[in-house]
C-alpha cells in the first residue's frame, strides 16, 4: 500500500516536473453550460449516482425538492444546446456511459431536455437517440474504438 502510494507520488511528481500533461483515459465529455458543478468534478465522477439516488428518495418520499442534487439540475446545465438533450453521441450523459458500457434507464421515464420557464422545450426524438446510442455502443465493441 505504502509502496503504491510512494510510486504514485513519484510518478505524479515526475510528470509535473517534466512538464508532460497527462492525458486522461476515456472520452472527452462536453459539459456545456456552467464552469462549476454542484460538487467537485472528481467527486462527481465517482459518486454522481449515489448523489442522484439519495436525492431521488428524498424527493419521492419526503417531498424534499432542493435543486442542487436533482437530476433536473444536471439536465438543465449539461444538455447539449444543439440537440437539447443529455443523450445523443455528444450528449453529456450518453457519451461517457456508452464508453463505460453502462446502460442508463433514467431517461426512459425522466425528460432528457432542460426545463425552460416550467415547460420542457421540444426535445429531439428520444426513440432516434436510443437507436443511435445502441448502434454506437455496438460499433464501439466491434471496432474497439472509442465512440
Amino acid at each position: 500500500m505504502l509502496v503504491t502510494a510512494l510510486l504514485t507520488t513519484a510518478l505524479t511528481f515526475a510528470a509535473e516536473t517534466s512538464g508532460v500533461k497527462s492525458s486522461r483515459i476515456g472520452p472527452t465529455v462536453k459539459t456545456y453550460k456552467g464552469d462549476k458543478c454542484v460538487e467537485d468534478t472528481e467527486y462527481m465522477r465517482r459518486n454522481h449516482m449515489k448523489v442522484i439516488l439519495h436525492q431521488r428518495d428524498e424527493t419521492m418520499h419526503k417531498g424534499i425538492r432542493t435543486q442542487k442534487h436533482s437530476l433536473k439540475n444536471c439536465v438543465d446545465c449539461h444538455a447539449d444546446p444543439k440537440t437539447n438533450s443529455v443523450l445523443g453521441k455528444d450528449g453529456f450523459c450518453e457519451s461517457c456511459h456508452v464508453y463505460t458500457s453502462v446502460s442508463i434507464d433514467c431517461f426512459s421515464c425522466h425528460s432528457a431536455a432542460p426545463e425552460k420557464n416550467g415547460q420542457p422545450r421540444k426535445a429531439a426524438d428520444p426513440a432516434g437517440l436510443k437507436e443511435k446510442m445502441h448502434t454506437s455502443a455496438v460499433m464501439g465493441t466491434v471496432n474497439g474504438k472509442q465512440p
Partner: protein, 241 residues
C-alpha cells in the same frame, strides 16, 4: 402517539401562530409554509372536495391534468393511461344525469399500498398516495386492488415527459394530486382549471387545518366518500351524489 422532533416543533409553531392573533386569523398558514429542504409532515393531510351540483358537462379538469402531467393519448382508449376521468351517472327512474370527476381518492388506508409487493405504492405522510416508479415492477396488483379504477399501466413508450412528472413504460401511474405543485405551495392543476375555466366545483386544501376552506365547506354541508362501506377514509370527497 409518538412525535418526532420536527413534528413537535411544527405543532408548537402552529400553536403559537394560532395564539398570536384572533381565531380564524393566522400569521403563518400551515399550507405553503414549507421550504424546499423541509420534509413533508403528517401535520397536513391534503384533500379535495368536489361539488357535484356545480360539476356539469365540461372536462376542463381532465384536460388540465393530462396537460400538466404530460399524459398523452395514443388513440387507443383501452390502454391509454388516464389519471382523471369524468363519470356519468344516470338515475334510471327519473332520467337525471350527473357527471363527476374520479381520480385517485388518496385513501388513508389505501388498498393499493397493502397489496404492493415491492413497496413502490406508498402513502406520503401528508396523505398523498403515490407510485415510486423506481421500484415499481409493473405487476398491476394495485390496479386490481383499487376500488376506484384510479390507476393506469403505461403500455407504450413515453415521449416528451414533463420534467416534474416522469412517466415510463412498464410502470403503474395515477393522480399524484399534483404533488410537485403542492410541494411548491400551489393547488392541483384540475382544481385550478375548474376554478378558472370550469364551474368552480372543486376545492383543494388541508383536511387537518380546521380553518381551511375545504374544512369549512365540509362542515357546512353533507358530503360523502365514494364507497364509504370500504372504510378507506378517502381524501377526495363529494357533495351532492
Amino acid at each position: 402517539m409518538s412525535l418526532n422532533r420536527r413534528e413537535f416543533i411544527g405543532i408548537g409553531g402552529a400553536a403559537l401562530a394560532g395564539m398570536a392573533l384572533a381565531p380564524g386569523l393566522r400569521l403563518v398558514e400551515l399550507a405553503g409554509a414549507r421550504s424546499p429542504e423541509e420534509a413533508v409532515t403528517s401535520l397536513q393531510r391534503w384533500g379535495l372536495l368536489v361539488d357535484i351540483g356545480k360539476c356539469h358537462d365540461c372536462d376542463a379538469c381532465v384536460t388540465a391534468c393530462h396537460e400538466e402531467n404530460g399524459v398523452t393519448s395514443h388513440g387507443r382508449p383501452a390502454t391509454d393511461p388516464q389519471w382523471i376521468r369524468k363519470v356519468t351517472l344516470k338515475d334510471r327512474q327519473t332520467g337525471y344525469v350527473t357527471t363527476l370527476p374520479v381520480m385517485c381518492q388518496h385513501c388513508e388506508e389505501p388498498p393499493c399500498v397493502d397489496v404492493c409487493p415491492t413497496g413502490a405504492s406508498f402513502k406520503r405522510v401528508d396523505g398523498i398516495v403515490l407510485v415510486d416508479k423506481h421500484i415499481c415492477i409493473g405487476c398491476r396488483y394495485c390496479m386490481m386492488a383499487c376500488p376506484y379504477k384510479a390507476r393506469s399501466f403505461v403500455h407504450e413508450d413515453t415521449t416528451n415527459q414533463k420534467a416534474h412528472a416522469p412517466r415510463g413504460k412498464g410502470t403503474v401511474e395515477s393522480c399524484t394530486l399534483c404533488v410537485h405543485r403542492v410541494d411548491a405551495g400551489r393547488i392541483p392543476a384540475c382544481v385550478e382549471a375548474c376554478t378558472k375555466d370550469g364551474n368552480k366545483a372543486m376545492v383543494f386544501g388541508d383536511l387537518k387545518n380546521p380553518n381551511s376552506e375545504i374544512n369549512k365547506r365540509l362542515a357546512s354541508a353533507p358530503t360523502t366518500q365514494l364507497r364509504p362501506d370500504l372504510n378507506l377514509n378517502t381524501g377526495v370527497r363529494y357533495r351532492g351524489i
